[in-house]
Assembly symmetry: C2
Homo-oligomer: 354 residues x 2
């Protein structure tokens, strides 16, 4: 699947390096169980490219910088490759002055945020990745869709334990969870979404009927205004800082929806950061304490003895091990889409690999 | 009230400058409506000082630094004065290299996080303030109290609009909200807390019965694992980075509870940051777009025409204007405590000021 993804990006004209990192990013999503952001999205990038809304061979440029910061113009490239470029700049700045922070405009969907946040781990750095996204979420007391599911990802290195990896939408659930319920013919729990008039709903199809997702927490009584604040933060750091589109102006990922004629910036935006651990204390000391933190939480008294306390990143890591062994399950519609892409670019496609 | 607070800190031996900023911090909490963190807490700081757990005249030191970072030892001072010192260092670093990030160990409770996050606004910088706190919160699937209500505060400058100010506990609600329900004889909504066995509960007294608060989101189905991740992040940035106590080892704020004999660091910890806007783009351009962001959200379609969409910081700002005009309501128990403090230090106390 990774090789096929590389071939598709190269067929669009991407450099070998960009194609490789884009494929790694989609591949990691499939391995970590975020199926909505893996190879299932490959066709989406191709369709954006066909519409001239994605530049397969961008000339990425730093347009503003200080010793610890930069603003980067992604030249409408795929976020899958633009964000790793930005993170490389952040890591170099962190090596020089302790931390590096890069805001990115004029980009496209960057896949799973966790992939980018994990890049600095190998340098004994904490990694941070944020992105804004197409508006699907209403702010507290509102019924307009003004924010995306705007994820926050943070990766923190440990010594003998695996790293802590947080990768979360700032909504109660990611959009894909509603699609899972639709396929299963099930209702959604309360607190996930509201209908077009702002009433609570359990209708899993509500987004197709003008409704919207709710910020983490759900309604005001359950702290939904805090989830809204987090989504707002991600929007402002990712887009108002670099000069990308924010709020309702964020262009849709899907090629069949046209972006708004009015623009308040360029493309969508990301914000990435790298913090050298030893800019604060010796790295080994820090990582020993992270091991202790992880073990303390992992061994905490569980409510149900069968279900130990969650450690951020554990579920995705266990699933990766399982999928590396047994393979990644791929839906027939995704296989059909891959076959169509192979035909489109005259590439061989062997579904036996799946 | 502010003058009285200054007198109490000076009576404990604090410098005039430390007493002034500590009083500003408590005073801002009262003005912004966070009554639990205002003058009501003054006696708590005095009682910690009497027990030798708070140093009224600390020798605050930078123990580690790079051009964009520092680790500071607060010498067991009041966080009310230690955090502004740390933020001053962060602002200086941001002036030099674009951003400044300071982790603080060996501190005490720092009042409202928003006060500290707002300090860089005057320099056209975004301010960030995090702190860990006494463990009251269970991680997802757990029944042990391992995290505090660990707030996140971020302040973002605007041009003609007031600044955006986010100041939120990473739990569904702050601890004080349960106390309000107790006084009103009311039950808590589901999703706020669980009993000692980890069962959902609506008992507002549950913390006194061995229960715990729930992370933002509540249970797993409603995204509680995301609130837990946020609380974990705040704990790690505030304490594992600088070498303070984390998780279950965080010393309690109340003087009648003794800290654990085992320590994994020094005191409690904070993490503050200052980001120069013009490290990313011209400040005026950014602030014009923040004005546009605020107006777009403020004018979004409300669910109920009487209740416009919330803008982070608006409710506290409106309450501040009202309280500056009409005064701050203070409970009799707080007045009694202030009277006892006045007697303790042979200070005049005139309840007419209230």
């Amino acid at each position: 699947m990774r090789k096929f993804t590389v071939q598709i990006f190269e067929a669009m004209g991407s450099s070998a390096a960009d194609a490789a990192i884009a494929a790694d990013c989609l591949n990691q999503a499939d391995l970590r169980g975020v199926d909505s952001h893996g190879v299932a999205r490959l066709g989406g990038y191709v369709r954006l490219w066909e519409k001239g809304r994605l530049n397969s061979c961008p000339h990425i440029m730093t347009v503003h910088e200080t010793p610890s910061t930069a603003t980067i113009d992604g030249d409408l490239g795929a976020g899958l490759a633009v964000a790793p470029y930005a993170m490389k700049v952040a890591i170099e700045k962190a090596q020089a002055v302790g931390t590096g922070w890069v805001a990115v405009r004029n980009s496209n969907h960057f896949g799973i945020a966790g992939f980018h946040a994990m890049l600095p781990l190998a340098c004994d750095m904490i990694g941070i990745a944020l992105t804004n996204a197409s508006p699907l979420v209403s702010p507290t007391f509102g019924k307009s869709r003004l924010l995306g599911t705007n994820p926050i990802a943070v990766a923190i290195p440990a010594l003998n334990e695996p790293p802590l990896v947080i990768d979360m939408a700032t909504t109660t659930v990611a959009n894909g969870k509603l699609e899972v319920l639709q396929r299963a013919g099930k209702d959604a729990p309360e607190g996930w979404a509201q209908d077009k008039d702002g009433n609570p709903t359990t209708d899993a199809y509500v987004l197709k009927k003008g409704g919207s997702m709710l910020p983490l927490g759900g309604d005001r009584l359950h702290g939904g205004h805090k989830g809204y604040c987090l989504g707002a933060l991600v929007d402002i750091f990712s887009a108002v800082l670099p000069g990308a589109n924010y709020g309702p102006w964020v262009p849709p990922f899907v090629a069949f929806l046209d972006p708004s004629n009015e623009q308040v910036g360029k493309g969508i935006g990301h914000f990435v950061g790298a913090m050298r651990i030893d800019a604060f204390r010796p790295a080994k000391e820090f990582k020993q304490h992270i091991d202790n933190w992880i073990r303390t939480f992992r061994n905490a008294q569980p409510v149900n003895p069968e279900q130990p306390v969650l450690i951020p990143g554990d579920p995705e890591r266990l699933l990766t091990a399982e999928r590396l062994k047994n393979g990644v399950p791929v839906q027939q519609s995704v296989i059909d889409d891959m076959k169509a892409l192979a035909d489109r670019f005259n590439l061989p496609f062997n579904p036996e690999i799946l």
